[in-house]
């Protein structure tokens, strides 16, 4: 990995952290908000992270490098964006699942009454990603009944 690729990946990962946390708190997806108890602070911190990441990337160095040389061409950029954004989202899902574990346990799904747990992002309004996945696995492989 070149220095430029590392800088690009870090910029994307940090920006994705800010954008995803802002979107999550604005849309009530509390299970994936890391600072769940402080929605206002989450919005401010998220905005600052995005602005800071953009400012750092463009102010620290001249980023207009030839895409046939040290820069990234379209395909490389798409690949690095996907990799860095996915890694950032996975870290957020992991961290938010840990810090919200106790809150997420009271998600309201009773496996003795409903065969399948609710599907989709909407359920992350009431539980964490790890608990949602665990419930889905239990239901799929019959362990919940």
């Amino acid at each position: 990995m070149s220095d430029f690729e590392a800088a690009y990946a870090l910029w994307v990962a940090l920006s994705t952290l800010g954008v995803a946390q802002y979107a999550a708190v604005s849309n009530g997806l509390r299970g994936i908000v890391i600072l769940r108890r402080w929605p206002g602070a989450t919005k401010v911190c998220s905005a600052l992270i995005v602005i800071g990441a953009f400012a750092w990337f463009f102010i620290s160095e001249d980023r207009n490098l030839p895409d046939t040389g040290a820069g990234l061409d379209g395909v490389e950029q798409a690949r690095w964006f996907a990799l860095a954004a996915t890694a950032s989202l996975l870290v957020q899902l992991g961290v938010s699942s840990i810090v919200n574990h106790r809150w997420g346990a009271s998600h309201g799904w009773d496996p003795t009454e409903e065969r399948w747990p609710p599907a989709g992002l909407t359920w992350l309004e009431r539980t964490t990603f790890a608990q949602a996945i665990a419930a889905r696995i239990r239901a799929t492989f019959g362990g919940s009944r």
Partner: protein
């Protein structure tokens, strides 16, 4: 006419340092694509249980539109080998000297494909993306790496690609619906 516009705009390079810095950021290969992609990440998560799926389909259309615009541009670039404006004009480059053909502008096609795909569903957000795409195209002309008609051609390619992708998604609507159903099972949609 095309060359005269580039020379007129490019004559401004070096006059106002702050404006040059702003153009230097905007003209970059990274600013608009990353900002646009981050907006798509936010759009994917936005909405209620009822409205979110449509936003997610819009995100897929935008991604498909960008891919389509890129492919069409690459094909046209292979047929129309137009030299960059700095080859035939005495310009001050604010960007590295690209080696691929000038027409149509790939950046404009990508920017306008993204904006059009989003505009079809969200007028305000689409409007913001159109403004970004326009600024990106303007910066490319100002920096001396594209003629205005390259940007115009790229914009047409982008709009056509977005409409074609939206039409394809409507025609094969079961594919994105099916994909979303599976993604919902792992809480990714």
């Amino acid at each position: 006419m095309d060359g005269a516009i580039v020379r007129f705009l490019n004559a401004g390079v070096g006059n106002v340092a702050l404006f040059d810095w702003l153009m230097n950021v905007l003209v970059s290969d990274y600013f608009v694509p990353v900002a646009g992609s981050l907006l798509l990440v936010a759009l994917w998560m936005t909405g209620t249980h009822e409205t979110r799926p449509q936003n997610q389909i819009t995100t897929m259309i935008a991604a498909g539109g960008i891919g389509g615009a890129n492919a069409i541009t690459t094909i046209i670039n292979g047929i129309v080998d137009r030299p960059r404006p700095f080859v035939d004009n005495d310009l001050t480059l604010l960007f590295y000297a690209p080696t691929d053909p000038s027409f149509p502008s790939n950046t404009a096609s990508v920017g306008f494909a993204l904006a059009t795909a989003v505009f079809l569903r969200h007028r305000r957000l689409g409007g913001v993306l159109y403004a970004l795409a326009f600024c990106w195209g303007f910066a490319r002309v100002y920096a001396g790496v594209h003629y205005p008609t390259d940007v115009l051609g790229g914009a047409v390619v982008g709009v056509v690609a977005a409409f074609a992708t939206a039409g394809l998604f409507r025609l094969l609507s079961f594919v994105p619906r099916y994909a979303l159903r599976w993604l919902r099972l792992v809480y990714a949609a």
